[in-house]
Symmetry: C2
Subunit: 250 residues, 2 copies
Amino acid sequence: MNTKTRKAQEIANREELLLDIALELMAETGFAGLTMDKITQRSQYSKGTVYNHFACKEDVLCALCCRSMRLQIELYQRINDFAGSTREKMIAMAYGYRLFNRLYPTLSMVVLSMKTPNIMEKTSSIRSTSVSEHENKIVGIAVKLIEEAVALGDIPASQNVDANAATFAAWSMAFGTNALSSAVVHKSSKFCSAGFDSQYALLYNVNLLCDGLNWKPLSNQQDYLATWQRIGQELYAKELAMLEQNETLY
Amino acid sequence: MNTKTRKAQEIANREELLLDIALELMAETGFAGLTMDKITQRSQYSKGTVYNHFACKEDVLCALCCRSMRLQIELYQRINDFAGSTREKMIAMAYGYRLFNRLYPTLSMVVLSMKTPNIMEKTSSIRSTSVSEHENKIVGIAVKLIEEAVALGDIPASQNVDANAATFAAWSMAFGTNALSSAVVHKSSKFCSAGFDSQYALLYNVNLLCDGLNWKPLSNQQDYLATWQRIGQELYAKELAMLEQNETLY
DNA sequence: GTCACATTGTGACGAAGTGTCAATAACGAG
DNA sequence: CTCGTTATTGACACTTCGTCACAATGTGAC
């Protein structure tokens, strides 16, 4: 029985190793540069072994997506300790989301790609439900926060806010902002010339949303830019320092 | 000289034909089922000719993306004739966006995929700037509408709204809502069990955003669900009828 | 220690797809 | 009709995916 758990551990370790390699390859040679053969070559294992872990190439992405979400969850959990209003905590979630996207650009692209049909069509159901589970955990954090805001009256009861609907709105906003930001940055979009500031776009957008929910204090009652800075200092100082030194973690 | 324009016309026609085939293939066999070989086989032309039109497979998607945006623009232009406030017109844009996504599900997936790195990395620069140009046209429609709202005072000057920033927010929201809706519908997401209603999610989300901008009349001052219905009847009756009969147009 | 059995690993291989290019065909001006 | 130009073709070289018969290794009973 002991040997079994040891073996299982070894397999789990190898899986992480393979994922490290996959991520490294993607960072080096771009998204299209990831092939199963290259993973095989760079690892000390053979193709068959790699395919023992992942049913297909898309499953590798799925697994990376799960890792990505575990990392995100870690960032979001710190928010519990943040001394601030519920709205400030929601903004902290947005901060964490953006931080994640900057710190792990390759992983972020993986998450984005997972919403795309050509990937989803091919993933095995085991992997894709695993992604859903992780996703639900993140969604749960946001739902809980919004429910708390309603309970405390930060979001007036008269707004009749459904926590699920509001969470979906916030998620949509964050997801869309990130997806379009990275696209806008690279291209000759109208926004580039219009002084588009990707740094604060998410703060701005989430503030609009919260104001729409009538989530007190409103953005004209409080300086959320200051909150934004404070979140960075108090919750994510370590990660910001890494970014300063251009230490991107895939 | 006349022969040249005739020839050019023929080539343009053939390009449209090839795109029709590509779309048909995607609708039939899924996104991953699209191959250059199949396009070749189903058309009466050879591989070389197909590659004369499109530098690579991703260029086909790019071209479809442009077609997709031309169709969208057509939908949005009708809004000029809509008798309503600026905010109602913004909601009409959201309506058009959602209508487009329902009427052309395959094309919608193409647009979504274009925001993804594995596609973007491979597209030729000519095609991708063409996508940007089309995109800018759509963005321009929204910017103009928001500027008008500010000029009329529907959005109070005190909000200090930048039309570009607000457009980006609206675009992010619409894009994110659509991307996540289609993902949520298929999967065992928390939202499914929570009575997620994809039909009105975009209306709800855009209303939140407009409320956040303090775009008058606010959603508690007017029944925008009624507006939503009116938009369907007055602007998009034909398209709705098609949807009723399950006539999806790729 | 060893033997039968179970599990895990291997890499050559077939299938499928991409993009190229030398050869061929069609075109049109003179 | 002829000849240079341009468009078209499909065989080919190359890449990649995913499989499977076989090899190697690990396990536990005796």
